[in-house]
């Protein structure tokens, strides 16, 4: 078996880890990440913090405006601001 099949760089592992936070990593990518997680403490630490961040985002249930909503808010506000200046 070629080494490059299963062994990935730290950078690639972080990229897969990011993608897996959004369920966008493939099974094959998750396998490669899993192997790297066994022995690489840097990947492990990154993955741990990344998972914590995802859990915090889900727990907090934070919301934000959609870009069209923000644009509309900006437009109305700008009109009012211009009137006052």
């Amino acid at each position: 078996m070629k080494k490059s099949f299963l062994f990935i760089s730290c950078q690639e592992a972080k990229h897969i880890c990011d993608k897996s936070q959004y369920d966008e990593a493939t099974g094959w990518e998750r396998l490669k990440l899993g192997i790297r997680l066994i022995w690489c403490k840097f990947t492990k630490s990154y993955s741990k913090n990344n998972n914590k961040l995802t859990a915090a985002m889900q727990k907090s249930e934070v919301k934000c405006l959609k870009s069209n909503e923000r644009k509309s808010l900006q437009k109305n506000f700008k009109e009012e601001l211009t009137k006052r200046q």
């Binding site: 985002m57 727990k59 907090s60 934070v62 934000c64 405006l65 923000r70 808010l73 900006q74 109305n76």
Partner: protein, 184 residues
């Protein structure tokens, strides 16, 4: 000299999401939350002369928003009260007493404490998001909070998927570091 300066030109960019999150946690309705945030900015604009600079702009705007939320509840409570007098839980006499079981508190339901923790966690997240470069914060919010797919974000912001993942990576690294210091 006042500690904080006021500059309404940046209000929407800097505080709209924070105020919106604050509001929606209290009113649970997207449209009402948007209206209240908009009213807050306009009220802030009208009373800019009263800004003494002792608190930050964000704190000052939140104090206006709090009054708007209270006013909103005052308005709907007067209507809600009338509706509740007329409301009966169950008109079926044979089912009388069933309400006891149905109305018992759900132990898995959110408590006030959970809501408070979530609200504080939300504040911590927004404090960390405010430290990110504008583009990173925007992409992160679209991907993580709004749940847009990669293609939609790339089309809207005119970036490539690899650009997007680089931005997401930088944003997540910075946010995780910030949250580690302030929350985890």
């Amino acid at each position: 000299m006042p500690k904080h300066q006021i500059d309404p030109n940046n209000w929407i960019k800097l505080y709209s999401d924070y105020l919106f999150n604050y509001t929606i946690m209290r009113v649970s309705d997207r449209e009402i939350a948007k209206d209240l945030v908009s009213e807050t900015f306009l009220a802030g604009l009208k009373s800019m002369v009263n800004f003494k600079g002792e608190a930050s702009e964000r704190t000052w705007l939140i104090s206006i928003l709090k009054r708007k939320v209270i006013d909103h509840y005052r308005k709907i409570n007067s209507n809600k009260g009338k509706a509740e007098v007329r409301m009966r839980y169950n008109n079926d006499t044979e089912a009388e007493g069933d309400w006891l079981e149905e109305r018992v508190a759900d132990p898995f339901d959110k408590t006030a404490e959970d809501t408070l923790v979530n609200s504080e966690l939300g504040d911590a997240i927004y404090d960390c998001l405010a430290k990110l470069p504008e583009k990173q914060a925007e992409v992160f919010k679209m991907k993580t909070i709004l749940g847009y797919d990669t293609e939609t974000i790339c089309n809207e912001l005119n970036i490539t998927p690899s650009n997007l993942w680089v931005i997401i990576h930088r944003a997540r690294t910075a946010l995780a570091d910030c949250m580690k210091k302030n929350w985890f």
